[in-house]
């Protein structure tokens, strides 16, 4: 029997849900609105909600001061590059953990996860020195490498969880059918795990795109991504709120759109195997 919910309860929860959602969304909404205001209006002591003098000049100014497209391309290379590199390493790793586990597999998985529990700043000095000595500072490939490394535990964990859902019989059947390891992975495992691999890819692209700590500390002008691009606008000489907002909007727009269009895939992938 379906549970009965009274109309007033329904209305109450709907209002509450909208209130919480709007509260969470309000900073982003404010940023969007501010991006279209003049600098004077943005810092006016009597703040306006909608832009009184609608203007696009902030976007032009932002592009003039520091090249948006260069940063955007860096972001694309780093986020997709590190995710694809991560998948190439993680697919065989997750295969062996899911289908040929040893006594230590569980420990290795926990250890990998534990690296994500440590604050990144704890390894700042060693990583910085290594990057300096290997001449990786402010390079796109250096940044791709560090992004691969910090997201690898999550990629391995996600793939491991998806692979565990695949019946081992099917992989054994492939072995009996004459498939060597490479064919077993490329012809059978990967096609069957496509939903899982896709959501892993999406999530990690988003994580890498939004990563700010390492991007800001390890890059300056040349290899900076969009997160570095935003931070360059929070200038200490004075607040240019409108320009900062315009820069932020430009930086988050692509990933927001990607997330919007792929949310079905993301949800399906993240709940993969939850319901048979």
């Amino acid at each position: 029997m379906a549970r009965r919910v009274s109309t007033s309860t329904k209305v109450g929860f709907t209002v509450l849900a909208w209130a919480v959602a709007l509260l969470l969304f309000s900073p982003i909404l404010w940023t969007v609105l501010t991006a279209f205001k003049t600098e004077a209006e943005a810092i006016a002591s009597q703040p306006t909600f909608f832009p009184q003098n609608f203007t696009l000049e902030n976007f032009g100014a932002v592009q003039d001061r520091s090249d948006y497209f260069k940063h955007a391309i860096n972001s694309i290379i780093v986020s997709f590059g590190s995710t694809i590199l991560g998948l190439i390493i993680a697919i065989p790793a997750a295969w062996s953990m899911a289908f040929a586990p040893s006594k230590r597999t569980k420990d290795i998985l926990m250890w990998m996860l534990s690296t994500k529990m440590m604050p990144a700043v704890g390894v700042l000095i060693p990583i910085y020195l290594i990057f300096r000595d290997l001449r990786l500072l402010d390079t796109v490939h250096g940044l791709t490498l560090i992004m691969t490394l910090i997201n690898l535990p999550i990629i391995v964990w996600m793939l491991y969880t998806y692979f565990k859902e695949i019946p081992v019989d099917i992989l054994e059947a492939a072995r009996m059918d004459g498939a060597e390891l490479w064919n077993e992975i490329t012809h059978v495992l990967v096609p069957m795990a496509v939903p899982g691999i896709a959501s892993t890819l999406l999530l990690n692209v988003i994580l890498a795109w939004n990563e700010a700590f390492w991007t800001i500390t390890l890059t300056s002008g040349r290899a900076g991504t969009l997160t570095a691009f935003i931070s360059s606008f929070s200038s200490p000489q004075g607040l240019f709120l409108a320009k900062l907002s315009a820069a932020s909007l430009l930086a988050i727009a692509p990933i927001l759109l990607l997330g919007w269009f792929s949310q079905k895939q993301l949800v399906r992938g993240l709940t993969f195997g939850a319901v048979k």
Binding site: P167, D169, I170, A173, R175, G178, H187
Partner: protein, 332 residues
């Protein structure tokens, strides 16, 4: 060719010894069934032959060639799994073609073989479907099709019919037996169902706790069981066992009589008892008789008998069909 030889094969999982020491000689073209209760090591033994598990010690030979360390892909055997293990992302055609593709066969030849297999197995109209759009029986046929196209040295079946309903199971049993007669390729078939074992096998391997209790033809096992375990496992309903003074009379530690080897009377006989449950199957009637002092016995009699609960009956075992066992359970 497909003769399979196991020499002192041993398998342990960590501390647990699943197969202590097995030696078997399976001839080319034979249909051999591994049968035994669950956990007896029959599936493990099959997986060792397949190469899906590594032996702890011992040697496995295919056509006289040592394949103990060869990976499954190099052994040239085909396997049919209980779960069918079809590739869900491929059509039936691609499923059947997969082993040929792995063998890098030219496409024209693959098409020819897949079409032939599909016609043999009545799958021609399903070739472009995905496995999830097929019934259980059809899926199992695809799995068999995938196994036969590559003309393996031997087929390995791991309880292939346990997921099918009873009627389909009988049909598929016949189909597999016919397939064997047609292909004359070595087949090893694992089951816990002794009826499947008896009806399909040229020879049966009865396994118990990782040991071979007996290896012989179905009728050998039925008529001359090597020990009490085999006597109890082969034959349905189960053999009746009697211990104590009644067995000593026959010079044995225990004796066994099959349900079909009794003479039944309402007036006289060797053992007196009362009918508990009478199971009427139409063709046969199974009587579960509580005997005086000898325990519960199952009797098979013809379907026209109308005994019912509470009737007093006399049982006389056929003296030429009494099986005798010593204290260790070995047949005397």
């Amino acid at each position: 060719m497909g003769s399979i030889t196991l020499e002192h094969v041993n398998k342990s999982f960590g501390e647990v010894q699943v197969i202590p020491d097995i030696s078997l000689d399976i001839k080319d073209g034979e249909f051999v069934v591994f049968v035994g209760p669950s956990g007896c090591g029959k599936s493990t033994l099959l997986r060792l032959i397949a190469g899906l598990e590594d032996t702890t010690s011992g040697t496995i030979k295919l056509d006289g060639q040592d394949v103990t360390d060869a990976p499954p892909a190099r052994r040239g055997l085909a396997m049919v799994f209980q779960s069918y293990a079809l590739y869900p992302h491929m059509t039936v055609r691609d499923n059947i073609a997969f082993p040929l593709k792995m063998a890098k066969m030219p496409q024209a030849e693959i098409d020819k073989k897949v079409d032939y297999a599909a016609r043999t197995l009545n799958l021609a109209s399903y070739l472009d479907r995905r496995p999830r759009a097929l019934s259980g029986g059809q899926r199992q046929r695809v799995a068999i099709g995938r196994a036969i196209v590559r003309e393996p040295k031997a087929f390995l079946f791991d309880e292939p019919l346990s997921n099918l309903d009873a009627a389909l199971r009988v049909n598929m049993r016949l189909e597999i037996t016919e397939l064997h007669q047609q292909l004359k390729t070595t087949m090893i078939y694992v089951t816990h169902d002794q009826v499947e074992a008896m009806t399909m096998a040229d020879r049966i391997v009865v396994l118990n706790a990782g040991n071979v209790e007996q290896f012989g033809s179905p009728l050998d096992l039925y008529k001359k069981p090597a020990n009490r375990f085999v006597a109890g496992f082969i034959g349905s309903p189960k053999m009746n066992f009697v211990d104590g003074p009644e067995a000593t009379k026959h010079g044995a530690h225990s004796i066994g009589v099959r349900p079909e080897h009794f003479k039944l009377s309402t007036t006289e006989g060797a053992w007196k008892g009362t009918v508990g449950v009478a199971e009427q199957l139409g063709s046969d009637t199974f009587l579960h008789v509580q005997t005086d002092g000898l325990g519960l016995m199952t009797i098979r009699t013809d379907g026209d008998q109308t005994f019912k609960h509470g009737d007093v009956v006399w049982l006389t075992p056929d003296p030429t069909r009494i099986y005798k066992f010593d204290a260790a359970g070995k047949a005397i």
